[in-house]
């Protein structure tokens, strides 16, 4: 039996999936300052979870921004290709992947065979990414879960800045004016939606859409984004492992 591993070293979290045609095990740890170590550790953890040794694995594929720092992988593939493959594996009807990760947000058009037909990523700044939400929850002194809960059903304040640093100043201004936390929370989520709308004007959404990345863990935010965009989303049970899964699937196809 062929066993493969996919390691996705992201800016915030490092993920691993062990795969043999189905998902054998998975693991996720914070990337921290040392992407190389994180990749090693998460691989070990996923192997432990599967009750396997490194020698049992036929093919290790690395992805994510830290893929270049991994010395033990057989192949590296970008997270764009991996997300398409992973989403297609989980939801075979996927034609679009929306991924909001720690420092990137991307929209990927997926071809019938699971390959990438087109894609777009955010600019080099953190606008519309997980980092943006993280910084904003920091100012409001709430968790990401609380942000989603506060945002749902509340009238959003209009945040004009997509830039994380400028949005921070804008929010501090709103707080000074006495605008409610809930209204600001709602405005923050709307900012992500606006960014997605601009990305999907370049790479259009086609049904079915699979939503991956850490932000997809938050059901309220998913609901707001999906209703603003006007599309239903497939949400994976573990939205953060889609890239690692795709990497493992690619390794599996090639083995």
């Amino acid at each position: 039996m062929v066993i493969t591993a996919g390691i996705d070293v992201g800016s915030t979290a490092t993920k691993a999936v062990i795969f043999d045609g189905t998902i054998r095990s998975m693991a996720m740890i914070p990337t921290g300052w040392n992407p190389k170590e994180a990749g090693r550790n998460v691989f070990r953890e996923a192997l432990n979870n599967a009750g396997l040794q490194e020698r049992d694995v036929d093919n290790v594929v690395g992805t994510g921004y830290g893929r270049i720092s991994l010395s033990f992988i057989d192949k590296k593939v970008t997270e764009i290709t991996c997300h398409a493959k992973g989403a297609k594996f989980l939801f075979p009807q996927t034609r679009t992947v929306i991924d909001i990760g720690g420092q990137d947000s991307k929209v990927i058009a997926v071809a019938d065979d699971g390959s990438v037909a087109d894609f777009i990523m955010n600019d080099k700044c953190a606008a519309g990414t997980g980092r943006f939400l993280q910084v904003m929850t920091g100012i409001l002194d709430i968790t990401l879960d609380e942000l989603g809960q506060m945002a749902s059903g509340n009238e959003p304040v209009s945040l004009n800045s997509m830039c994380t640093v400028f949005a921070e100043s804008e929010i501090i201004g709103f707080l000074a004016q006495g605008v409610t936390k809930a209204s600001i929370a709602s405005g923050i989520v709307q900012t992500i939606a606006k960014k997605l709308i601009s990305l999907t004007s370049r790479v259009p959404c086609l049904d079915e859409i699979t939503f991956s990345g850490g932000v997809a863990n938050n059901p309220e935010i998913c609901t707001i984004l999906s209703s603003t965009l006007g599309f239903k989303f497939n949400i994976p049970k573990n939205p953060q492992i889609v890239g690692a899964l795709g990497a493992a699937v690619m390794g599996f196809i090639q083995s």
Binding site: Y65, V77, T78, E79, I80, T81, D104, S115, V116, A117, D118, F119, M121, D123, K124, R202
Partner: protein, 381 residues
């Protein structure tokens, strides 16, 4: 692949500083140019040396930002910074600068630049079609001729212009032959080497000499192809690069494409195909022929700019490319906006894979660019 000839091109830039210095001692005049819209024929006809000016490196941008806004395109900031810091030898040699109103940022920057050197500004029309646009532009080209006659105390005859036209057409012919080496599959030349050659050859002060050495390189490359010598293989993704001007110093996207396993086989940019795909008509009244050719330059400062789309489509076929990358400098509104229409045009017509890259001269986004470019190469492989 490294032929000895490539080393010769590496040296061209430094050698040209020596030859310019000698030429100046012998009383030769030098006209510095920033843009493809500056007709080098008129400079040659005036008995002067046309020389491209620096503007493709990050280093002088900090100096420029003391005066210019930060959110301006890096090409404008770099050009100004080189001049203001006195670090461009070609600028220092120049007796006059030939500038052009291609965009708002440039034309206002030139106002500041004119404090350093005599500067002649060519006022471009904003459209290419129609008799009145050509008439107007012909007037501008004529004023440039008169300005050079005054500044250099010479008379430019029609015969001078005709000779210069023939010389520059020959230069175009030889550069086009070189660029067409990229049509070979796999190409015997990397995009980085090609960029170095097309960038450095511009600094050669002797047009006849540069034609000869470019021709020699071209035939050597055909020879290498016949012997199967190439850094690439038949599966290497072939990329056409279009968009803003690139040169050595602002080459990071070309470098990343090739480090990630692609090959830039065609540069549609200003220093490359845009400059050579048409000649100045040698049978026409010379100044009018020059005006016509230069006005047809498919630059995003023109509206509409349909000829750029058509040129890219034609080159994509001729060079058998797998994907098209459109490079935009941050703050270059015309190329940035045009990218949207270009993508739609190319995808409707041919379903050509297309990627726009927006960046500046700095190295801060190299890893992010690698993700996009690698993913694009994975997509088209």
């Amino acid at each position: 692949m490294k032929t000895n000839l490539l080393d010769e091109f590496e040296d061209l830039r430094t050698n040209s500083v020596t030859s310019l210095s000698k030429a100046k001692e012998n009383g030769k005049k030098v006209a510095g140019m920033y843009c493809l819209y500056s007709p080098s024929e008129i400079i040659l006809a005036a008995g002067a040396i046309p020389i491209p000016l620096c503007g493709t490196r990050q280093d002088p941008i900090a100096v420029a930002e003391k005066v210019l806004p930060r959110n301006l395109c890096p090409l404008i900031k770099s050009s100004y910074g080189f001049a203001a810091s006195g670090t461009c030898p070609y600028f220092n040699f120049s007796d006059i600068l030939i500038a052009e109103t291609t965009c708002d940022g440039k034309k206002k920057m030139y106002e500041l630049l004119s404090q350093y050197k005599p500067l002649h500004l060519l006022q471009l029309p904003q459209k290419q079609d129609g008799e009145e646009a050509l008439r107007y532009w012909l007037g501008e080209v004529n004023q440039m001729k008169e300005r050079l006659e005054r500044e250099f105390a010479v008379t430019i005859t029609d015969q001078d212009l005709r000779n210069a036209i023939r010389l520059v057409n020959e230069e175009r012919r030889s550069l086009k032959d070189l660029l067409d080496v990229g049509k070979l599959k796999p190409s015997p030349l990397s995009g980085m080497d090609l960029l170095m050659v097309i960038y450095n050859r511009g600094f050669c002060t002797d047009k006849k000499e540069v034609v000869q050495i470019v021709d020699r390189l071209t035939s050597e490359l055909h020879e290498l192809y016949k012997r199967g010598v190439t850094p690439f293989n038949i599966k290497t993704p072939r990329i056409l690069l279009t968009g803003v001007p690139v040169g050595i110093g602002s080459h990071k996207v070309v470098q990343i494409i090739e480090e990630c396993g692609g090959n830039v086989v065609c540069f549609e940019s200003c220093g490359a195909y845009k400059a050579v795909y048409e000649h100045v008509n040698e049978d026409q009244e010379p100044l009018l022929a020059i005006a016509e050719k230069y006005l047809r330059t498919p630059c995003s400062c023109m509206s509409p700019n349909a000829s750029r789309f058509e040129l890219i489509e034609k080159l994509a076929d001729e060079f058998n490319v797998d994907g098209i990358m459109d490079l935009t400098w941050q703050g270059c509104h015309t190329y940035n906006i045009e990218s949207y229409s270009l993508k739609n045009y190319l995808q409707e017509k041919k379903r050509r894979p297309f990627l726009q890259i927006e960046t500046d001269y700095s190295e801060s986004d190299i890893e992010q660019l690698k993700v996009r470019i690698e993913a694009f190469l994975e997509m088209i492989s």
